[in-house]
């Protein structure tokens, strides 16, 4: 019996499908659309070729129909600010591809993305269907370009590259934080001047260098600049830069954002933060478990990311739950792991609406609860398993056998 189960598991592990089988309707679901439609009960969503084609159609037309039994269906959660696909074992340098000493603003780590990393199926257990991986870069304050990948485990996982520019500011181990913010301002000023000069002097205009092109993209508001800072003064300095250069600014980390919550809200700058970071640093003296709640109340669009090791990404939903226990509404916490992440990075994900990608999760209960699990998930419209190497190890070591465990597969 156990052997039979084990071979099923093997099958499941190797059969992450890559073809759109057929159109699917999920009926009788409680759908959290994350759109103006809000929460729909007894609702139906239909998807085909990886795209949502109908919500609550008058007649359900699909090859396969799945009765959700009233359970909760959400958009797949979105991870961000981690190195998913760029690291297998953190301390094994040959399995790490997110850092590069000479990296600059153009550094695009997506070419190193490994869809076969064991971290990916494990992370699916957390209901995460897409992720924005960010490079750790090198000595430069610009760490490089973020990219969006899905968690299908397929070779075509990468959806968009050059999604956002990552810049690391704030407290420095050596030297002054002032120098970095000054350098950033100068870069933006120089690029702006070069652009206006090129406009005037069209015949002499040379094609700008790649790094300059990346700065120009920020000036044109073509993509967000994600800036890691904690201290309120650094946040304010960035808000000033946003105003001066019309940047699409996102604050990440944001440990002391509560001290300038109104200013952040007024500037319409999203914040990406760890919902459970509540220990003080000198740059973040005021963070508590209620920080997310304070920011939401001030009108800030908050997105959550999991702090620390990439392998912890699957815990994102628990962090959201803990934020609810500390004052955030369930709907806002759900936004913080879906629509608000998508909006911060300007990506087309995180909502259930006609025309959107069918990245969907059907939950056994409240998505944030410890006791809940993913019942079914679809990435790009394809049902995807949550079984991982961890399940194979568990089954091996809980099987009845007279033989060494190595024979239990």
């Amino acid at each position: 019996m156990k052997l039979f189960k084990a071979s099923l598991l093997t099958l499941a592990l190797t059969s992450a499908t890559s073809v759109y089988a057929e159109s699917i309707a999920v009926t009788n679901a409680t759908i959290h659309t994350m759109t103006e439609q809000g929460v729909l009960t007894n609702a139906t969503v239909v998807f085909d070729e990886g795209v949502i084609t109908a919500i609550n159609p008058e007649t359900v037309n699909a090859d396969t129909s799945i009765d959700a039994g009233g359970k909760t269906l959400t958009p797949g959660f979105i991870g961000s600010m981690n190195q998913l696909g760029l690291v297998e074992v953190s301390a094994v340098s040959s399995t790490r591809d997110s850092s590069e000493k000479k990296a600059n603003i153009t550094f695009d780590a997506s070419a190193a993305f490994n869809p076969k990393s064991t971290v990916i199926p494990y992370t699916r257990k957390g209901g995460i269907t897409t992720n924005i991986s960010v490079p750790r870069g090198g000595d430069d304050m610009f760490k490089g370009q973020a990219f969006l990948a899905d968690l299908s485990g397929e070779f075509d996982s990468i959806r968009t590259t050059d999604v956002a520019v990552i810049v690391d500011l704030g407290a420095k181990r050596k030297g002054s934080r002032a120098m970095e913010i000054q350098k950033l301002r100068h870069k933006l000023q120089d690029a702006q001047e070069a652009l206006s000069k090129a406009k005037k002097d069209k015949k002499d205009a040379k094609k700008p260098k790649r790094a300059d092109q990346a700065i120009n993209a920020l000036l044109a508001g073509e993509k967000p600049m994600i800036a890691y800072v904690d201290r309120a003064t650094d946040i304010l300095a960035l808000l000033a830069l946003k105003k001066e250069f019309s940047l699409d600014l996102v604050i990440a980390g944001a440990g002391d954002a509560v001290s300038v919550a109104d200013e952040i809200a007024q500037a319409e700058v999203p914040v990406i933060m760890g919902a459970i970071n509540n220990l003080p640093s000198f740059d973040a003296l005021h963070r508590t478990l209620a920080s997310a709640s304070t920011l939401f109340d001030a009108g800030v669009n908050v997105a959550y990311s999991v702090s620390g090791d990439t392998h912890n990404l699957y815990m994102l939903r628990f962090d959201a739950g803990i934020s609810v226990a500390n004052g955030v509404s369930k709907e806002n916490a759900l936004k913080a792991v879906t629509a608000n992440v998508a909006d911060a990075f300007n990506i087309d994900a995180g909502r259930i609406a006609v025309g959107k990608k069918a990245d969907l999760v059907l939950w056994s209960g409240d998505p944030f609860e410890l006791s809940t699990r993913v019942e079914q998930m679809w990435i790009d419209g394809v049902e995807t398993s949550t079984l991982s190497r961890q399940d194979a190890l568990r089954d091996r070591y809980t099987a009845e056998t007279d033989m060494p465990r190595a024979y239990v597969k």
Binding site: V89, L279, P280, L285, D309, F318, L370, R373, D391
Partner: protein, 460 residues
Amino acid sequence: MQKFIPSVLVAAISVSLTACIQSEKQDEKVEINKNPYPSTYQVLPQQTTIIRNATVLTGTGERLDNADVLMLDGKISKVGASLSAEGAVIIDAEGKWVTPGVIDVHSHLGVYPSPSAESHSDGNEATQPNTSEVWAEHSVWPQDPGFNRARAGGITTLQILPGSANLFGGRGVTLRNVPSQTMQGMKFPDAPYGLKMACGENPKRVYGTKKVSPATRMGNMAGYRMAWAEAAEYKRAWDKYETDYADGKNPEAPARDIELDTLKGVLDGEIKIHNHCYKAEEMAMMIDLSKEFGYHAGTFHHAIEAYKIADQLAENGNCAAMWPDWWGFKMEAYDMIQENVAVVDSKANSCAIVHSDSSTTIQRLNQEAGKVMYRANENGFTIKAKDAITWITANAAKSLGIEDKTGTLESGKNADVVIWNSNPFSVYAQAEQVFIDGAKVYDRFDEKYQAVSDFSLGQQ
């Protein structure tokens, strides 16, 4: 037991030999003070208290619905229906849950405090592979704001350990989670010391990169064995001194060695081993090592692969302290399974513990245990809340050698109690009131019982 037989023999022989000798003039006996930094912990103001109509998890594997808990003179007096006591403060806990105070066997609060600053990074004397002479208590900064955060999560007792760079990292100390200006004011009275040992990647990396032994796992084992062999000699010398002195001779006391004092304490059964050890094959060798030198291998911490040798751990009486789901940060953490704690717990006479090693997750050990319970129950286990609570209470107390004092709600135990707003194994669970020795030390709804560290006070 085996190890005591030779010394009894020696004693018998020496008595017969010395019978005819008049006792020499003896110098004053050299005594080693085993408690030179004694606890000055004082119970906070407390009064007789009855918690009424709660769902109570006793930590002994029992669940009582609509039950009362009576705390009298700082001890658990009774748990049961309709309790009364003269002058008792009554807390209506209908709809709430009550558990023993949560115990974390693996914390670095105070030795790696917040804010993280080099000046406060005092958790690892990573200067040589054997630093059995250092004591974590001498590094504890009692003003670490993390202690207060942990208290708000129901932590009443915690062991502060040195880091894992060394084969022998030094002594750990068990603390009451009460605010104090001094480490001694937090020190758990009469709790045994722990000795931190470390297997695997950390020691060999730290010293290997310095071109000093150990650079390999076999180097690790050699390092332990050489140290224990030396400790055995040291113990023999002191035992002989004791025996000779008792026989009326005037022996020369052996030279005092602070490092070997700690190892001798383990061989004497007074200090418990707390061994950072991830992998199955290494834990199995550490058990054999302990038998080779005559001590108990104690608790394995971060025991990622405990599930692979759960039978052996139970047979040998080892506790295993584990995370529910941390993995992948290094090779020895690659084989994590989410049911690890449950597999260890499923064996007779086992001792499964959920620990934190984190100033963040120590605030929610209840949820860490919950994650294990739910994942395991999805995969063939039938663990109930009344069982899962033991992973962060009774079993943790056993690991620290304080199971006669705390860890359950049995009559006579210290009244270390948490009132939760709901089932503690929910993501929404919060500790509402926390008691240590019957004294309220935290109240979520009363600022009077929310301590603030000196560091945080007055910051703008």
